[in-house]
């Protein structure tokens, strides 16, 4: 792993400025999980339109009077994230296909847990109306109750259950 990362305070300050710029220009915050949601809604709407029309989760975002879900703000923002991260990784020589995993975990195991973790995150973000970026960070920037509650719930749950998942990340010795 390439360890040459930016000073975290500087990175945090820049991230804060990006978020501030977003709020200043567009009046809304950053996000990520919303893009996945839009893609899923668009896919279900295209494959099984009748099924989608019957379920309020999909129908809220589909049908006449709605912009196509793939034309959502977050979909474009996430495309930008892909590009930006790619350029950053290119500059720092970090572009390579790898599966990063804890010392005790097989590649297959890591991917299985990544799938499971992704699914939990995806579902949880729907319930909480946003993920770490959309609900927690952006919410904290505008001092919303939702932002702080979601942030504390995510990190609280992480600290609470970390002991049970330690074999996924830690080696025999403490530390990495």
């Amino acid at each position: 792993m390439n360890e040459k990362h930016m000073n975290p305070y500087l990175a945090g300050f820049l991230l804060g400025l990006v978020l501030l710029l977003t709020i200043f220009v567009t009046g809304r915050g950053l996000g990520a999980s919303g893009a996945t949601k839009n893609v899923v809604v668009a896919a279900v709407g295209a494959v099984a339109p009748q099924h989608a029309a019957a379920n309020p989760f999909y129908s809220k975002l589909l049908g006449p009077g709605h912009e196509a879900p793939l034309k959502g703000w977050l979909v474009f923002e996430v495309l930008g994230v892909l590009l930006g991260a790619f350029v950053s990784g290119l500059g720092a020589d970090r572009l390579r296909f790898v599966t990063e995993r804890g010392p005790k975990v097989s590649v297959k195991g890591r991917l299985l847990f990544a799938l499971l973790g992704g699914a939990l995150f995806g579902a949880g973000a729907q319930l909480a109306r946003g993920c770490t970026s959309g609900a927690a960070l952006s919410g904290m920037a505008v001092l919303s109750v939702a932002g702080f509650v979601t942030m504390m719930a995510i990190f609280g749950s992480g600290f609470l259950f970390a002991w049970f998942t330690r074999s996924l990340w830690l080696g025999a010795k403490a530390g990495r």
Partner: protein
Amino acid sequence: MGPFVPDLISDQLNLVVALAIGFLFGFVLEQAGFSSSRRLVGVFYGYDLTVLRVFFTAAVTAAAGVLLLAAGGLLDLTAIFVNPTWLAPAIAGGVLMGLGFLLGGFCPGTSVCAAAIGKVDAMVFLAGGALGVFGYAELFPRFAAFADSTSLGPAKVYESLGVSPGLFVLLLAAAAILAFTVGGIVERKVAPDAAPSRLFAKKKHVAAAAVLLSFAALAAVVPNRNARLVAKVNAPGYVPHHVVKPMSPDELAFRIIDGDQRLRVVDLRPEAARKARPLPGTIAVPAGEVLGKEWRSTFSPRLVKKVFVAEKEAEAKTAAYLLVETGFENVAYLEGGYGAFERTVLSAKSPEGEGRFAPVVERFREQARTALAERVRLERAAGTAAPKKVKKVQGGC
């Protein structure tokens, strides 16, 4: 004054803005090292607290920045999206997300970053995310009731705690610095050789904390634009640079009944009061939002007289002065507040202090009562009593 969506930046252009903002977001996240799952989950095991440092520094910077922009009159806080709170779903969803973080090693934003530089685990995490959304959607009808429970609306955290937004941000900055300090100690204990906080000098930690704290302190001491202007117009000796006259209840009643096209009555009273004691032909504007961007077009016609109606005369007068102070003209306020309107126009008692005109005034008020009541009835029937809805910024995931 920001935000520039939807009035200055169209929906189409906003997508280009989204792409550009996403680029910066992704670039910074990747630079911070958020494309590594082992680094991200390090926060939960204490060997790498980069997430804590980046996340809280960003939150304090953005929150303080929002307050500072608003204080400078550059950002309209009433026009930005504040994500509404559904308390129980937010906690339950957060707990699920915490578990997802531990098992998957990413959150959605960071997984996009990591996938962009070739991390296979991140690509699988993203696919998992889509499965999670799909599963949630399919089961959604079963717990839709829970998902919409314990709604608090767009609640602000400082209001719940009863402090000013500036003080809250300052406390947040202090809490963040405390967390960085304690976190640094933990990090060096858990990973004596590899702790990222060892990678740079103590001086830099201290400098970062100082910058963060002073930024938050600045946000706490600079008064908010609205509060500053309210203080200015209420200061003794304040003279507005345009004439602001009181309007008598009788004149207001006459002009409303007359259907005066050059009159715009702005009702500042809270919704409950407006419903219980309605005044027809008004525009409802929340008392604290008079300076909001949303209402500019309502107040800008110079040939139209804007009359503020509030429970207390002083409140309406302040609103009128605020308008004048921010460049609007032809503003007035209801003399004596809504109470005076009720005591005179709406009262069946004989008019006082009208001398020999008393019988005329009494006859007028009698007709006015009937006409006003009729207008209220018509508005209710037509549903036009509903406040004017302006297109607002939408956000959220």
